[in-house]
Amino acid sequence: MDNVTVATHPHTHETAVAAEHQHVALPQHRHHFETEEQQREAGTFGMWLFLLTEIMFFGGLFFAYLLYRNWYNPAFVVSSNQLSIPLGAANTAILIASGFFMALGVWAAEVRKKGLLLLFLVLTTVFGLAFLGIKAVEYHEKWEKHHIPGASFDVSQFINPQAYGLKEKPLAPDMAQKTQVFFFLYFAMTGMHAFHMIIGIVLLFWLMWRANRGEFSSGYVAPIENFGLYWHFVDIVWIFLFPLLYLINRHPV
């Protein structure tokens, strides 16, 4: 084998393997990949690496939340009680459903059913938009309660809960100021999450357009698969945000 020089390889194995797999060359196959299998795996792996960066991106926020939650626990408890569990739980269910339809969409693409794929993509989008709608309702409520950090942020509700019909114990004035830290992190985290959702929905429309043209009906599923990974990752972020922001230390009810 030593005298096999670099430039004179006969490619026997490759042809053998290719014949074995009976790949039909797809138009989406890029020239620098030797096989579609290699291209597909490279795509998946690349997408996962991108998701790693997303983990670390949200990781910084999660760490900030962890730290300040421990520092200012009473403020975090009462301000998290200001969030609506029914809305949050509904949103969780909606987002999980959206992810479910996305997963079905991947399956539909894999079994090359164009109609089903389109249907599932539409459903994914609809549920995604529903999630954003409910989020907007929640944001609006915070706006009305003056819970958006900044100049008009109002702590009186936390200092004097009885006046607002709340059963909670009043916070000391200095601790009440710290509720602003909670709401900042709340808006930063859910806002960053919603931003990812918006990007995802834009991409969904693009994918629907491509699916409609039949691009994913012949076994080329990488874009759907990789977008699915992204969409599920956004789900996972919410799966952690929901208990952290809404649920922990919910009592007293």
């Binding site: 026997t12 490759e14 998946t44 739980a89 999980i96 399956w107 952690f240 208990p243 649920l247």
Partner: protein, 111 residues
Amino acid sequence: MSEYHDPSNVVNPEHADHHIVTPVTYSIVFATLLVMTGVTVGAAYIDLGLMNPVIALAIASFKAVIVILFFMHVKYQSKLVKLTVISGFFTFLVLTTMTLTDYISRAWGLW
């Protein structure tokens, strides 16, 4: 046999065959996720003290794991992808624990 040309990475340990997950599996996972969401909301209304955040995070982690394994197909992926996923969470853990060494031990001494 290192000279063996393996363009599809078939003999490569980093390779895994493309596996199509069925809608049945997806549905089971979906149902589990919904049930777990219900459980975590319910658990939030019971005062368990320190266990409340632990339970909430445990359920969230469980949900995340099954999303990763099934919706994101990691169960059927190569070792490489599994390792990648783990390394991401590991690095997050490094960020958290190493930073916490500072915050936790700040209270220990005067200096």
